[in-house]
């Protein structure tokens, strides 16, 4: 009886806690060690609806935390963290990455709900900063989802998606990724293949896909939501005037974009920080990911983040089946952090696309999870692992295996520094090429076919232009 009562309580907790509110607060510098030139950055961190599961997806959500600083009002720099002398709060694990760019912070045991951590400390190796210098510190935190190591399938089982991947020799058999070993592109059994006939050109049908190309078998983290307008502004306001000029979106008021920058030394603002950010071309996406210490996902990782280890279903979306809402949504509190949809459909998948949006432009992050009548995967539009809005709202940039510039991608992470003109600088990223970077997931302006997990209609698009239905999402390999 006690077990049943506990289960009942757990259900009610899940029912009524629908706000994530990730928050960093109370930043201070502590425990200065002048001899070894390091100091600890102390802060509190909390968010709601955190989880760690030992069954099913067997994954967890995490905060990706990184620190920026400036000395005497100079330019913003990325803080180098150390894998020693950090302090985790009770109930949490801190994984500082080997390159010292940031840290993942997550539950150390199974559980779900509020996650409140106080007096966390990360060691910052401050280098040549003088003790009399005046410092400004910014601590950034992004909600991420852990995708465990394991085999998974790519492509469809009915060959009905644009250029979908399949096993060579049979267009109705999905291809299973069983390791990070190189993959041969060939229309023969046991290999990976796709069609490049028709109006689109998803690739050159050549390979192999090298062993260093991230295939999704190895574990990785992915941003829980699409990049938000608040995220973009937080990034933008750390840049130099030249970098801002080259990266400025300049579309305030168009298709629900509210980012405004007046030029010069002024800071950019947004009135809808939680709304997904559109007009993110390749240059902007890669610059942000480099600056944040993340990296773009590959199209294989994108499909794994959607369906997990489950075999593909015909026409499925990120929520695992081909059901999809088809009525225009009514927005409530639109523009506010608690914006919701009043008329969510039940027993079907919900997403932002051409048949459901009532205003041209993206909706805020997490609106479907917050508005769903039943908080299950299908109605919230969540993926197998709990990644949100992978289908619809905005197209998301991925590295494609269809062209040499994509296949040469090795999954290196951003180092927190972009060049003076605002470009990413990571080796083997398709920074200045017109192929290698494409789009997956569909956007608010598209028909439902573009939202399907296997659809590759725009994986070839160079995304040098700024489109109103294109955003971004990044990830990072687990170490």
């Amino acid at each position: 009886m006690k077990t049943k009562v506990s289960t009942l309580f757990f259900c009610f907790v899940c029912l009524f806690t629908h706000a994530n509110n990730i928050t960093v607060s109370n930043i201070s510098l502590e425990n200065l060690n002048e001899t070894e030139s390091w100091v600890q950055v102390e802060f509190d961190l909390s968010w709601e609806n955190s989880w760690r599961l030992n069954a099913g997806p067997s994954n967890w959500d995490a905060a990706w935390v990184f620190v920026k600083y400036r000395v005497n009002n100079g330019s913003w720099e990325h803080a180098q963290l150390a894998q020693t002398d950090f302090v985790a709060a009770s109930g949490s694990t801190i994984d500082v990455t080997t390159d010292g760019i940031g840290a993942f912070i997550y539950r150390d045991t199974e559980g779900s709900g509020d996650f409140n951590l106080t007096d966390l400390r990360l060691r910052w190796d401050y280098g040549s900063v003088n003790t009399n210098d005046i410092l400004d510190i910014q601590v950034f935190a992004l909600e991420m989802v852990h995708i465990p190591e394991g085999a998974f399938y790519v492509g469809g089982s009915t060959d009905d998606q644009d250029a979908n991947l399949h096993e060579g020799g049979n267009t109705t058999i999905s291809y299973q990724v069983i390791s990070e070993d190189a993959i041969t592109i060939s229309n023969t059994s046991g290999n990976l293949f796709y069609s490049n006939t028709g109006v689109i050109n998803p690739g050159d049908l050549l390979g192999p896909v090298p062993a260093d190309f991230p295939k999704g078998f190895a574990s990785f983290y992915v941003m829980k939501y699409e990049m938000s307008q608040g995220q973009w502004v937080g990034f933008f306001n750390t840049l130099s005037e030249t970098q801002k000029t080259n990266l400025d979106i300049g579309q305030e008021g168009n298709t629900r974009n509210t980012v405004f920058w007046s030029g010069g030394t002024a800071s950019a603002t947004t009135s809808n920080p939680d709304r997904a950010i559109n007009f993110i071309n390749r240059m902007r996406a890669l610059a942000y990911l480099d600056w944040a210490g993340l990296r773009p996902l590959t199209e294989l990782e994108f499909e794994k983040a959607c369906r997990g280890p489950i075999a593909p279903k015909p026409g499925e979306y990120a929520w695992g089946n081909s059901n999809i809402a088809a009525s225009f949504y009514t927005y409530v509190n639109d523009g506010l952090p608690n914006a919701q949809i009043a008329n969510m459909e039940t027993s079907t998948g919900n997403a932002s696309y051409a048949s459901t949006i009532s205003e041209s432009g993206p909706v805020r992050n997490g609106i479907f999870a917050a508005s769903a009548i039943n908080k299950n995967r299908e109605e919230t539009g969540g993926s197998y692992y709990g990644v949100m809005e992978l289908s619809g709202n905005l197209w998301e940039g991925v590295i494609t295996l269809g062209f040499p510039e994509g296949r040469s991608y090795t999954g290196l992470h951003g180092d927190g520094i972009i060049n003076p003109t605002g470009e990413a600088t990571v080796s083997n990223w398709p920074i200045s090429t017109d192929t290698g970077y494409g789009l997956k997931g569909g956007g608010y302006a598209n028909p439902p076919s573009n939202l399907r997990v296997s659809n590759r209609r725009l994986t070839h698009l160079s995304v040098t232009a700024s489109y109103s239905d294109v955003g971004a999402r990044g990830g990072r390999s687990e170490e």
């Binding site: 049943k4 779900s112 298709t255």
Partner: protein, 309 residues
């Protein structure tokens, strides 16, 4: 006991308990700052003079200021933030700077310089004071004479949330209730009432200034007809724009689109096939600007479309 078991079973069946599907407010991102500190943790300076939240009509100004410095920028607003530029140099020693700025409810602006300030022996201690909710109030101090000229201490101008201009050569026949009327607290509200009856030449209804949140110019010689067309045009959505592949056209409820014609900037007409879901495919069109004419049962409307791949 049996009732309890049924209740629990129902909950388990209908409400999967996955916290990962419980999204909510402020999802996904946070940023926190600590300004003006030193490595030893000491607060090093008077770091934040004023700081607002994102998107609230006020530009952020964060600056480390050492109190020993004699140059102090109290505020430096940006273009289009509803707040004019104010930067001054103040000497901190020997002056009473108790109130440099004092905001009031809801107006986004209320500047009060409370220190005694005398210009040519005239006390002008209150240079400007806004009213609640209006974003603007004019305070003209009478009989202020500076170097022999009567001077306007403040008059609205470009980028201050208030700028209106009714140019000469406007010929109006009939009656006109409101061409333009600002609303409470918004800096701008456009109003063209249906009972307006206008004919003749109207060169400018409204011409906003740079950065004041509105800039539009309607130039027409037949305003009555154009207002009707404008109403139809605004009710039809066309997105995305610019577009590279599919373009969705969304008419008002119960309005059926019959056909669509694209016209290139060189004047060539292209009849576009439209899908049942009111989409057109422009993926085979050359990059550039097109005029889209949308024919419905009740008339036609035009929109501009940019194709860019």
């Amino acid at each position: 006991m049996k009732t309890t078991q049924i209740l629990i079973a129902c909950l388990l069946t209908s409400l999967p308990c996955f916290s990962q599907y419980s999204g909510g407010e402020n999802d996904g991102y946070t940023l926190a700052s600590a300004f003006g500190t030193k490595l030893n943790g000491e607060i090093a300076s008077f770091s934040v003079l004023y700081r607002s939240g994102n998107g609230d009509g006020f530009d952020t100004k964060i600056q480390n200021v050492l109190l020993s410095s004699n140059t102090l920028a109290f505020y430096n607003g940006g273009r289009g933030d509803g707040f004019s530029n104010y930067a001054t140099v103040e000497i901190l020693s020997g002056e009473n700077l108790a109130i440099i700025y004092n905001g009031a409810n809801g107006d986004g602006f209320n500047n009060q310089l409370s220190i005694p300030l005398t210009l040519n022996n005239v006390d002008v201690s209150e240079l400007y004071k806004g009213n609640v909710g209006d974003g603007h109030a004019l305070q003209l101090l009478a009989d202020v004479v500076l170097q022999g000229f009567t001077t306007e201490i403040y008059n609205g101008g470009i980028a201050d949330g208030f700028s209106t201009e009714l140019v000469a050569n406007v010929l109006l026949l009939g009656f006109m209730t409101d061409i333009y009327g600002g609303g409470n607290g918004d800096g701008f509200a456009n109003l063209i009432k249906s009972e307006n009856f206008l004919s003749g030449l109207i060169t400018q209804l409204f011409n906003g200034g740079a950065g004041d949140g509105y800039s539009s110019e309607l130039v027409t010689s037949s305003l009555t007809l154009d207002i009707i067309e404008e109403m139809i045009r605004l009710d039809i959505l066309l997105f995305p724009n610019p577009a590279s592949h599919l373009v969705q056209i969304k008419p008002p409820e119960n309005m059926i689109i019959q056909s669509i014609v694209l016209v290139t900037m060189s004047g060539k007409e292209i009849q576009m096939p439209i899908a049942s879901n009111n989409t057109i495919d422009v993926s085979n069109m050359a990059d550039g600007m097109y005029i889209v004419t949308i024919f419905t049962e009740t008339g036609a409307a035009t929109k501009k479309l940019i194709v860019k791949k």
